[in-house]
């Protein structure tokens, strides 16, 4: 028991345990399946937010194009599901039965070659992770090797997001265009729209998310994590110490892309469709907001951020359909003004010391020393800046 406690303390697993408890026990017991399904959807965004904590909070690389990877993962999943839904029997009214309906509408008469691998689930699942990672590698390798960073990189990622949306919308015969891929019903014959399937998918999302957080925590604790932090704060020093800074950035960017893609795939499964409206610039920026609201240095905080923002979106738009955009804006501005380090910052600066004081007061008789360890220093940069290293020579 004591060793477990020590383990939790050493790896700071307390907050993660609390989150797990909330996701796996409290929410499923208190919410009906409709709301739980919504939370499942929010959790998919949390994957992106966790990825952003790694790449932006730790790596110091602000990406405004995470929607691309979310979308690619989602599309890879959707392509598999769409092919399964387009069996010759249920598409027999088409000119060419057996191909997805939108292809038929666009006068395509045979399945394009790049669709063929998506007939197999294992290949589709591989594509969910590998295709976005390959694209992320391509972008980041090209950029970071040339030492393009900070604001410039953020602009490039925006451009990529825009290009991807235009491409998907323009090639509607192959992608479904603006409508996206809809009417996804079954996975290997398993109906993903039933209540039981929704429960299973919810727990799967929660499980995968917690596993992803654990992986990221492990990376943070490793030497790699320390290097990432060092690189964020003084890139040149790390470079002069003989490390290949670019490759670390490439790695963390690919990691974030893979996480986003898993979120996208889970999203497709739970919501039942995928469309270019997740890929563009606006959704990508929204995803950064999740991380900013949660606290860009905190993996667990990012999950709360994604949950809070999306819950706010749903709640405000249901209760005040005419005003909800203003209320959302107020939420963002309020959080950023009041807690520059997000929800996690609020916890670190106010709640944690308060708890510590209470504990201290209770234990005052038994142990005289003050247990309130000094809180780790807050990250220096404000959450919305690109966090260019302060001493970067590029700054004119």
């Amino acid at each position: 028991m004591d060793s477990l406690k020590a383990l939790i303390k050493r790896y700071q697993l307390g907050s993660l345990l609390l989150l797990t408890l909330l996701l796996v026990v409290v929410l499923p017991l208190t919410l009906d399946i409709f709301r739980l399904n919504l939370v499942g959807k929010y959790l998919c965004y949390a994957f992106v937010a966790v990825g952003l904590v790694m790449v932006w909070g730790y790596g110091g690389v602000l990406s405004l194009g995470q929607g691309v990877f979310f979308g690619l993962g989602g599309y890879a999943m959707a392509m598999f599901l769409k092919l399964e839904a387009s069996d010759p029997e249920s598409t027999k009214i088409q000119s060419t039965p057996g191909i997805p309906d939108f292809m038929d509408w666009n006068q395509i008469t045979s399945l394009p070659a790049f669709w063929v691998p998506f007939k197999s689930l294992p290949l589709a699942l591989l594509a969910v992770v590998l295709v976005p990672m390959a694209l992320a590698w391509l972008i980041s390798f090209a950029m970071f090797k040339r030492r393009v960073g900070g604001v410039y990189f953020a602009i490039i990622t925006q451009a990529v997001a825009l290009i991807c949306t235009v491409l998907i919308i323009g090639q509607q015969g192959y992608t479904g265009g603006v409508n996206g891929m809809t009417d996804l019903k079954t996975m290997l014959g398993w109906d993903t729209r039933t209540d039981s399937a929704k429960y299973i998918l919810y727990f799967l999302s929660a499980g995968l998310l917690i596993a992803s957080i654990l992986l990221c925590m492990w990376i943070q604790k490793s030497k790699l994590g320390t290097l990432l932090l060092a690189m964020r704060d003084k890139e040149d020093r790390v470079r002069f110490s003989g490390y290949d800074v670019a490759m670390f950035k490439v790695f963390v960017f690919c990691l974030a892309a893979a996480l986003s893609a898993i979120g996208g795939a889970m999203f497709t499964l739970q919501v039942g469709f995928m469309s270019p409206s997740f890929v563009g610039i606006v959704p990508s920026i929204e995803m950064v907001i999740f991380a900013a609201v949660g606290g860009r240095m905190s993996l667990v905080g990012a999950v709360y951020g994604a949950l809070l923002v999306n819950f706010g979106k749903t709640y405000f738009s249901e209760t005040a359909p005419d005003l909800w955009l203003f209320l959302m804006a107020a939420l963002f501005i309020g959080v950023v003004l009041a807690f520059p380090n997000g929800l996690a910052g609020l916890y670190e600066s106010h709640i944690k010391p308060w708890i510590a004081r209470r504990l201290a007061a209770r234990k005052a008789g038994a142990t005289p020393r003050t247990p309130a360890a000094p809180t780790p220093p807050a990250p220096p940069a404000s959450p919305m800046s690109g966090s260019a290293p302060p001493a970067a020579p590029a700054q004119a």
Binding site: G177, D183, F273, S275, F278, S317, E318
Partner: protein, 423 residues
């Protein structure tokens, strides 16, 4: 061909006969309506609602799901208003089966996933008896699987590309062939158009529409398509297109340009000297709503093919336009889709009363054959394929942003969402 139908089933002959009967019975109209209402109120809730819909002894909940915010808000506001007007009028008459309609409004925010989320909420949480909503094809495609899975009922007001038919959707706008074929015939016979230049925004509706138009022009009219061009939604630079048009010299420009692009398209046409006195242009994508933005001075003289124009001269429409302006201000305009939105609540009311139940399956089963004689567009009837029989009309754009109706199809056109020979 797709337009054949059995003569004994012909809706227009029914129409004429019923119209005469209706006129004879005019003085009696007040009475049966009241007694109907009194009788309806007596039907216990347990009987009219066996599927746990949100229906009480005094109230029935319906949903309304349009974009009140975002890029589509400008188009969808008309539908929101018209549906609300119809619901208010129905409530003033005593409601449906003696129950007042309560509307739960949700904002789809021009965002297809949001449409999906909100439709789930309306069907699963609110147990709405039916939903009036959606505008773009993309939003309809996003909610369709949900309506089918949860067995909801959607009244969809927009003219659209067809290729769809669902037991859970009533399409109150025209599917593509209803809007296209007769209009092209008219262009061919009245305007002697033989060569056509097809232009569209790049998504499913314009592409499908132009596909059908091309087949009709080439196979039926024996004409020629001299160009076919697509531009992304929101595109504003049509100079290269205009040069191509000038080179091709088509008898008819057939325009399926959507939304804000229209403003630049017509302004640039005018700037390039392509005006109505020199060039014949027929569009299926400009209504009174779009003309507000385009401006009469940029478009006067061009033609549009729709089923409804605000200037339509009949008693139903006069009443409708008057009521609409009384509620939403004298400057408001009414386009084709707005009118189609107005039909939804009335068609639902008629089907519920015929089925004597709010249950979706029963209402859907009762829907084919439902007529609405007070429709502003004249008369409509629901076909077995859940689309409406309706007329097509040609309107000429005027300086004040309205249309002058100059032709209408002699008969109601049968809806044919899966047209043979046009695929």
């Amino acid at each position: 061909m797709s337009h054949d139908h059995d003569s004994h089933d012909s809706p227009e002959s029914n129409n004429r006969r019923r119209l005469l009967q209706g006129m004879a019975a005019l003085p009696l109209i007040g009475l049966p309506a009241v007694s109907n209402f009194a009788r309806a109120a007596n039907i216990p809730t347990a009987q009219v609602n066996t599927t746990k819909l949100a229906v009480t002894d005094t109230e029935v909940v319906v949903g309304q799901l349009h974009s009140a915010t975002g890029t589509m808000a400008i188009s969808e506001t008309g539908s929101i208003q018209a549906e609300q007007l119809a619901i208010d009028q129905i409530n003033a008459m005593g409601g449906v089966l003696g129950r007042k309609i309560r509307v739960i409004k949700e904002d789809g925010a021009s965002d297809w996933p949001t449409f999906a989320e909100k439709s789930k909420k309306l069907l699963i949480n609110d147990r709405a008896a039916c939903v009036f909503g959606c505008w773009t094809s993309a939003s309809r495609k996003a909610v369709l699987p949900i309506f089918e899975k949860e067995n909801g009922l959607l009244y969809y007001p927009t003219f659209y590309e067809g290729l769809e038919q669902s037991k859970n959707v009533i399409y109150t706008g025209q599917e593509a062939t209803q809007q296209i074929l007769w209009g092209l015939d008219w262009a061919n016979t009245e305007k002697k158009a033989k060569s056509f230049f097809l232009i569209g925004s790049d998504y499913i509706w314009p592409r499908t529409s132009n596909k059908i138009a091309r087949k009709h022009i080439e196979n039926k009219l024996k004409g020629k398509v001299v160009g076919e061009e697509y531009y992304p939604l929101g595109h504003t630079n049509f100079n290269s297109l205009i040069n191509k048009i000038k080179l091709a010299k088509p008898d008819c420009i057939y325009a399926v340009v959507v939304g804000g692009s229209n403003v630049s398209f017509y302004k640039q046409l005018k700037a390039a000297g392509i005006t109505a006195d020199k060039q014949f242009l027929l569009t299926i994508s400009v209504t009174e709503d779009e003309l507000l933005g385009i401006g009469g001075e940029n478009s006067a003289g061009f033609y549009a093919c729709m089923k409804y124009f605000q200037s339509l001269d009949n008693p139903n429409n006069k009443k409708f336009v008057e009521a609409f302006k009384a509620k939403y201000g004298p400057k408001s305009v009414i386009g084709d889709v707005t009118q189609a939105g107005y039909l939804g609540p009335w068609l639902w009311k008629a089907a519920v009363e015929k089925a004597k139940s709010f249950d979706v399956a029963k209402v859907a089963a009762a829907s084919p054959g439902i007529e609405f004689k007070e429709a502003p567009e004249g008369y409509v009837k629901i076909h077995e394929n859940h689309h409406l029989w309706s007329k097509a009309r040609i309107g000429q754009m005027t300086m004040d942003g309205q249309f002058k109706v100059i032709a209408e199809s002699p008969q109601l056109i049968v809806p044919d969402p899966f047209p043979k020979g046009y695929q």
